[in-house]
Amino acid sequence: MNVSRFLVRRLLLVVPLLVFITFFTFMLTRLGGGDAAALISGPNSTAAELDMIRAELGLDEPLLTQFWIYISSAVQGDLGVSWVNKRPVLTDLIERLPITLELLFWGVGLGALIGIPVGLRAARDHNQRFDQVVRFFSLLGFSIPTYFLGLVMILVFFYFLGWSPPAMGRISLMITPPPAVTNSYLIDGLIAARWEVVQSAFSQLILPVIAMAIIAAAPIIKQTRAIAMDVLSSEYVRTSEASGLSRRVIQSIVARNSMTPIITFIGTELTALIGTASVLEFIFAWGGMGQYGLQAIIQGDFSAVQGYVLALALFSVIVFVVIDLVVVLIEPRADMSA
C-alpha cells in the first residue's frame, strides 16, 4: 500500500470524527441553557424584543434543526458571528491562528530540544543523581500551573530585574507593525527588513516561549526517559553491548530507535499544549486565537466559543494525521494498512 492511499484512508476515517466533534461543540454551548438573547439585548429588554432576537439568531428552532443549520453553514465556511465584536468568527480565527501557532512552535520546539536529550540521559544514568534530580524537576513541571508560571516570570524578569519588556502583546507599542504577511511579527519584520521590529518581537517572545518550553518539557522528559528505558532493555541493545560496541554508538542506537515513539508522543501532547498556549496568551496579552477563545468562554460568546473549540479539535485531528504520515515515512517497520 502506498503512502497516498494510506493518506486517503486515514482522512476518510476523520470525517465521522469531525461530525461528532462539531455536534459535541454545538451541544456544549447549549448545555446550560444560558440565554444568548438576554446577553445581546442587555438587561432592560422586553419579552418581545428577546423573542425577536431569538428568531433572528434561529434560537427558536428545535435543537437538531439548529445543529443542521450550524453544520451546513460551517461546511461552507460560515461559523457565525461573534456576539461581542460582531465580526465573523472564522475571519477572527484565521487571523489569529498563526499568532498562536508561532508561540506553540517556538515553545514546544525549545521544550523538545531540552526535553529529549535530558530524557535520554536520565534513562542512560537511571537511578543515579542526574536521573533523580531530573525526575524531581519533571514532577515540579507537572505541578506548576501555566498561568502562575507566566505571572511569576513577569514579576521576576519585568518587575524585579527589568530585563524584559512589559507583557503587553507581541511587539512594543512604540513600533508600527510591519505589513501583515504571515501575522508573525518576527517573520514579517524580516520580510520588511525592519530590524527594530524583529528585535522587539523577539524580546516579547522570550518570556512566553520559555514558560511554554518549561511546561512542555516535563512530559517530554518523562516519556523520553520511559521510551529510552524500554529500548535499553531490548535485545538488540543487549546484543550490541555484548558485541562490544562503544557506549557512544549504543547511545546513538538508543536515540534513533526512541525517536518514532517520542515524535508520536509530542504529537499527541500538542492537543494539550495548544490549551497551555491559550492560557499563556491570556497572561501575556498575546492577542492570538487562544486569548480570543478564552475571552469568548468567559464572556459567554457562544459562536466564538464553538468556533474556537472546533478549531482546537481540527488542529488536533490534523496533527494526528500528520504524525501518522511522518511515522510511516521515517519508520520502515510501520504498518500502513492500520
Binding site: F24, G32, N127, P145, F148, I154, G293, L294, I297, V305
Partner: protein, 298 residues
Amino acid sequence: MTTFENFRAEAEPPEYSVGRRMIGLARRSGTATIGLAVVVVFGVVALIAPLIIPYDPVAIFTDRLLQPPSATHWFGTDGNGMDVFSRVLYAARYAFGVAVPAVTISVLIGVPLGLLTGYRGGMFDEVTVRFMDSLRVFPLIVLALAVVAATGQSLLNVILIIGILDSPVFVRLVRAEVLQLRSSTFVEAAVATGNPVRRILFVHLLLNSTKGAMAQVAVRAAWAVRIMATLAFFGVGIEAPTPEWGSMIRQGAEYMATGQWWVGVFPGVALILLVLGFNMMGDGLQDLFDPRRRAEKR
C-alpha cells in the same frame, strides 16, 4: 510438628502485607514519603483551618489595603484589605473539598464502566472507547472551562465536571486489565460455576483489575486541584472573594507587574506545594502497585 510450622512461617513472603510494603517503600522511595507528608500537612491544615487562622478569610480591613508581609499580616493583605495568610490556609479546604469528591466521582464512573466495557466487549465497548477517544482532540482545560462556563457557576458543577471529564483515565486502565484477565482460568471457572455477570465483575474482577487505577488516584487528585484553581483563575466556577488559591492568584495577577507580589505568589506557592505533594505521592504509589516499575527501581 513445630519445625514444620516454623518452616511455614519462614516461607511467608517478606513483603506480603500492603502495610509492610508501605514501610519498605517509604525506606526505598523518599519521594513518595515526602509527597505523603506534604499532603497530610495540607489535609490537617484544611481540617483545622478555622481554628488556626488569625483573621476571618473574608474580613475586610479598609485601612490596610495591599500591605506587604509584616508581623500582623504574615503574608500581607490583598487589594480588598483581606489577610492573605488566613485566606491561603483556609483555601486548603476548597482544594480537598473539590479534589476528593471529584476523584471519587471519576472512580465511581470509571471503574464500573471499565469493568463492563472490558468484559462485555462488542458494540457498547466500541461506542464507549470511540467516544472517549474523540474527546481527546480537545485540550481538557479548555473543555473544562467551556463546560463549566456553559452550565453555570457553582461549586457542585465544578466538582461534577472535573469528576466526569477525568473518568476516562480510569475506564482505560481498568478496561485494559480486564481485557487481559477475561480469558484467564479463574474467570472461566467463575463463569462455569454459574456466577452472574454482576458477581464476576464486582467480586472476581474488581480487585484484580483496579490496582493500576488505584495507583493513579493521587495523580488524578493533583490534576483535580490544578484544574479547580485554573477554573477559578479564569473566574469560572468559583466567584471572586472566595478564599480559593486560583481566585486569589487571579486577584494577584494585576499586581504582578507593579510589585505587590505577595497577593498572588503565596497562594500560588501553596497550590504548587499541594499539587507537587500529590504528584510525588502518586509517583510512589505507582511504584507500589506496578511490579515492573518496582523492579526497575532496584
